[in-house]
Point group: D5
Chain length 147, copies 10
């Protein structure tokens, strides 16, 4: 069974059971975004996590093996994403990337925000003028090594 | 005077005076990231903001006119950014974009996070295992209109 | 059943029954362009809309579930569209995009026309020198937030 | 004098004199969008139009010659536009292009909307929930010739 | 039945029966190039044309329906064609495109040769130094509309 | 003096003197399209041709040397041309390329139309429904060598 | 049967019978490189050649028909080849292309080496420091036609 | 002095003195193609070679220093070359690359033809049907190392 | 059986048997990286190596034939790799490529590090601040041939 | 003074003084590859390092300021590098990237080799069959964070 076949089964079961990413996150004791990333094929599950997922979704245990392999990561079909929601994240990088670089260098020195030792949080902030999507990235600062 | 010439003068003055984006943000009563975006040529200043900036940086008032025009936005030279710090933001979209889309749709329905009615905050979170860069995006949720 | 399979069934039924987008628009109480977009897989239907569509087209109710998921949007296979009719829309952006930007900024200030809080109307304007296609875009103006 | 040099002079004079595209459109008895396109280097002026423009903007008559040459048209630097306002027009083609094609074929048969025998109108529609940008394209329908 | 399936059946029948594009053109009272374009999936047939084609090629009448839909046009797999015969047409545009533009503007003014109200003729011109391929494009001149 | 500098001088002189490509073609006893190609930097002139051109345009003889070098050919800035007139030639290849290939193979066998032993003619065909641009390509058929 | 299916059968039979391109070249009285090109789907066989090939490889005569059609030529999947052996030919063009152009123009005048009236020879040149691959291209010089 | 400035001086002197690549090759006791590659900025000269070149071309000795630095190699502006002569080399790789790979593997095993331990020869082969360009590549075969 | 089918069988057997690349490397008396490359379809096995692999993995001997053919090499789906681990190797080339070129030229003269007479070693270096991945490339220096 | 201007001065001085990267590395007590990266504009120097560099190279102290700013990193002009030496590093990633990923995951689990907490060493290994370039990458292993 390939990872994609396993994911298709799990996503179909999630829809049939009417479970949300928040529900699955509770089961796995992980964040809803990480769980969604795992179900999009972008993260590696432990044997225990895979088993819990299969159980709560009521799928065959066969799906658990491919989920434990480190995936070939990268979920976009095109260099510039075409879906409008995902494109907005590209646009933020395109418009504000140099500003974020300048500010981070001023605050931290030469280095980067890790995308590996990294997590994402997504919240809904209610607002009478229209609710807001609040996305928080937290990545370890990695200073450039000199040698 | 073109916008780029004005920005070059302002950025050189900022460096000479040893002022940070935080300093300028206080002067303008705006956030440091917005000020950095303005100095990277990605935002439009009001006449008052342009004048305050020229004053605090001690530059000729000639720089203020081009800053008040809406710029041609987009600061990257290449489709996929090559600078490692900026690339990490692209990688986050590449790896986690479909997960963020799935979670946002589950929380908000079909629509997007605006990149226009939008703001960015950047903080340093001290951590004994290595300080963390915390970047927060806050964008108004825009539901797809049906007609 | 995937969205594409559902759409193939619905489009085939539409052709068999000889129904136009205008006919379906009347059934759904929506505009013909929105209905076409939905049948091209670019919009999310409510449960009621999906059921009405399946009924009027006489298809199995199984098609209704995938239509209610927010789709991965973006319908072109290539960055620059190759179909001549669709290319003309690209050419208009290519030739007149900077002029439209200059005029919109002059009329509204710095911001954009939303493509989300947005609708399209298409009319035939009869003309002895050749009928005209009249396409109207209406999008909410979104001013750039300063923060 | 190249067209670009002439346009730079004219645009600087327009800004100095505080004239809008609407003002220039009245002078030339043309639409504001066409005038903006001409000033973005995307249209050919007649000798009379070029002279009127130079006069109202108070520039040397030298600028009038290059404006009368058919330009090399196409104003975008990149295949996919990066400026958010212009990108939204690309996104509309990307998301709704196939729907517009389907509707136009249903209404007119096989053919295209001309982008040459073509005009654009832009209006502000006031709306308490936020003003709307209304862009209307009107192009002659050209049926595919069979031979 | 998809258009591609119908075309595969028709092209196989054409080969089996040893009929040329010239033969089919006589049957349909159309030009051989237009018939070839139709069989490459780039043109829309009338009901009568589709029926005549199916009859002369002895195929099931089922093939006639998809041929009457306006196709998604564009027959090349890559932006720059790789087949040497087709590439030469690209090369002509690449090398002589600006010269043809200059000459057409001098002869006709600012506008284009339509590729829609358009036809192609291909002839063999015998020549002792080697026969020549003579390809003639005839397209209506469309002057740019000013508005 | 580079070729581009020489061409800029010659094209400016052509405009000042009000000479057309047809006029220059008569001087050089060549076709107007070839002369336009030469002035777009896409063909090599003989010493006599270069001298005649400099004389009729009244320019310094210095321009004649670079015109006699075989140029680096290819006049488009982008892979897919953006100018609408030139794009239509690309679109013809995109839409009709496979049909022309099929017809040429049926008429001539496996081989190509040369773009080197090749000429272009452009004529205006008057037509009450709108004048037509008639472009004729004539290239030697080159059969594929087998060895 | 498609050309690809025919080629798969022939290449499998070649491997099973342990025949080399040199062996097949002897059978067909053609060069080994041309035979390899034919088996890679890049050349058209005569009826006799196709029959000889099917006979020596012991395959069904059904494979002979598709081999006699002019193929859609071009065998690379990507613009820049990724296979290291094939990439080296790209690199030679990239590094030495302008030098070869300069030398050919100096020796022959303005024109090209035909890739159609063209043949390739490949030999092994034994050398104590390491055998050498000797690839010889022979193409007819085609001078640019002036008209 | 940059390499490009040195090369511009040397190429201008070559043209003024009417010297061919063959002439310079005799001076340097190297092949004409290598000399052309050096003058296109694609090879490194020894101090003696640089001095000989400057002397025979009568240029200042200042040009000799940059020629002795290993250049950043690669002479094409675009991924797919647009100049027709250079494109033909690309087309040969595109059409015959897989055939050459198959033949070289059959003759030599798994490995490549070096493009570094490599030389090119170009000859004119007179032929009553049209002279032929004969280009010979000779590169050391490098077998893939297994470890 | 294609190479991909054979590799899928072998990789599945490797996972079922719980064997590592180190285990297989011992069996074949080769390095773990080379074995991994072979199992990713990027290297040619000898008959003996293929047989040993099939035996230790307990698969049908049928898999051994395709492994002995030189593969079409190149394992990435996109020009710029999207998987973060593989991207880091691209980034190293992007950021440090010119520095490595400068240092290698200073140490060795004009030439390259072979990627054919080449091997890779990967080690884990334990480090209290976090273990390190140590990747060593060893390639024969190939000086540019002058001729 | 821009960073590029400072680097041009420093590189020219390095050449005039005949100093190697090894010499400069000794002065700065850093590795020769890091120093080369700094002189290629890919690393940030401390004030002390910049001053030492200016002193040993005898340049004006004005060059030291731009070297202390974090640069916009990324040194290649094209996505796929064209210089053969640098291309080989791309080819290694292209051919061996998936194998290195598989081995690193087997040795370390899911994560990456950092390209930030990272260093490069380059050595010459003498070998009678031809000296070898030995490039060693050492990067901290960063495990994927789960949250």
């Amino acid at each position: 069974m390939t990872r994609q076949e396993a994911l298709d089964i799990l996503l179909a079961a999630k829809k049939d059971k009417g479970l949300s990413f928040v529900d699955l996150a509770k089961t796995l004791a992980r964040d809803k975004v990480w769980v969604a990333a795992a179900l999009m094929g972008q993260a590696t599950l432990s044997a225990a996590e895979a088993r819990q997922l299969a159980e709560v979704l009521g799928t065959s245990p066969e799906v658990t093996a491919p989920l434990q392999e480190p995936p070939h990561k990268g979920a976009l079909d095109t260099t510039v994403p075409v879906d409008p929601l995902i494109y907005r994240f590209h646009e933020i990088t395109q418009v504000y990337g140099t500003a974020m670089k300048a500010v981070i260098h001023e605050m931290f020195g030469d280095g980067i925000m890790s995308a590996i030792d990294f997590e994402i949080d997504i919240q809904k902030q209610e607002d009478p003028k229209g609710d807001r999507v609040v996305v928080t990235y937290s990545g370890k600062f990695l200073p450039y090594r000199k040698w």
